[in-house]
Symmetry: C2
Subunit: 244 residues, 2 copies
């Protein structure tokens, strides 16, 4: 590729900002899939006809935004999605608290999403969606009840196969079976009380106080690809925030 790549920077935008935006487009378009290394700084600087320092600023910006990861001596890599069990950050269940909770799918249906979920997922009203209900246990004790909505047909592969074989973490399944990489999530926390059905599953009395975590998860391109409601015993809730 001997030709120079050109970036047009809108007035008021810095050149490294425009470069970051251009690289973001190339990443999101799939030119560099998750886990893949992007070209070296020197290569990019030559491609775009800018100084090394400028392309560095652009890459640092993408790294701050969590889109890429820089490793000295190796290169710059497109981030793999979230894989951990971030829901446990909100709860403390007994001694085994820092292990990944076990997971059991209670229900799997394809149906029209209620209006608020459809809006969250960015689809029209009554969009056909996949709904999962899931029980998570810690040390064999029921801990969390989850209702998960996923847009179709993107998640159609999850309608087939035995959910018992998915394992305890969902996001790696999203990546392997559907090619969806969760990069960012927004959790909204509130308190309420358990309905009869959820209480039965969690082996708590109906009306027991519970913490409610509403999650919206987003992929590389910024699309919302999951709307989830998690319920757990309010007394096990525990979270720390730092303010600056």
């Amino acid at each position: 590729m001997p030709t120079l790549r050109l970036v047009e920077s809108e007035p008021g935008q810095s050149r490294y900002g425009a470069l970051a935006a251009a690289l973001r487009v190339r990443i999101v378009s799939g030119e560099f899939p998750p886990g893949c290394a992007i070209p070296a700084e020197a290569t990019l600087a030559a491609d775009y006809g800018v100084a090394l320092g400028t392309i560095r600023r652009a890459l640092d910006l993408l790294a701050e935004q969590g889109l890429v990861e820089r490793i000295q001596g190796r290169g710059t890599f497109v981030k793999q999605g979230l894989t951990g069990a971030p829901m446990l950050r909100f709860f403390r269940f007994g001694a085994a608290s820092h292990e990944t909770p076990q997971s059991r799918i209670l229900a799997r249906d394809s149906l029209a999403a209620p209006p608020d979920v459809a809006r969250a997922l960015g689809g029209g009203p009554g969009e056909q969606s996949l709904r999962l209900k899931r029980l998570r246990t810690v040390d064999g004790q029921p801990a969390l009840h989850e209702e998960i909505w996923l847009p179709l047909p993107l998640f159609a592969p999850l309608l087939e196969g035995d959910p018992a074989r998915w394992g305890d973490l969902l996001y790696p399944v999203f990546a392997e079976l559907c090619g969806v990489h969760v990069l960012r999530a927004v959790d909204t926390i509130g308190f309420g009380s358990l309905g009869a059905a959820q209480a039965r599953v969690l082996r708590l009395p109906a009306g027991h106080p519970c913490a409610r975590v509403q999650r919206r998860a987003f992929d590389l391109a910024g699309r919302c690809i999951e709307s989830r409601t998690t319920l757990g015993d309010a007394n096990a809730f525990h979270y720390t925030v730092s303010i600056t």
Copy 2:
């Protein structure tokens, strides 16, 4: 000051890291008080005998850490402490939710701190401390009950004068009367139920579910200068976190 300032950088530490540490010491020591402008980049670069870009990295680092604020065309300033009403970020009370809640001091005592509070404040056991109890109201309705522990003699000025004249925000009072600037706070969120006394103050039934926010606040030098427990109706609790 014609002589060059020297920084010794420990092995493995970058020069800008060492410069940032040196500047941090000068700020914390009081050489540049909060709100004050620190010398210009060019001046500092000459003082320390390094390139402009290097001193810039050091200042950017301090800005990331929240110790200074950079304003184009004006200069680099030592941060004033937090002044807002950050506790309201956790609750939603009616329509007037985004206004600063009103504040009334219910009690003010000087007494020995219980062990956990003394530990939090970094003092010995039974350290003499100032305890405030405080009711915060929104739209005239009781909303939050707070118990606040402050180390003595640092906060001795608060033992005198009429608390009713302190205003609705406490941190500006800390700064004006005690010279303490709160730069950072760590909040731990949990769930519980109201004791009889707190319930009466909040006009809720005893045993009503409540959210509990445990705050530790820190000053410029990183000392813990406040331990606070805030209680509010669990149904009004509402918080959003972004995960990456």
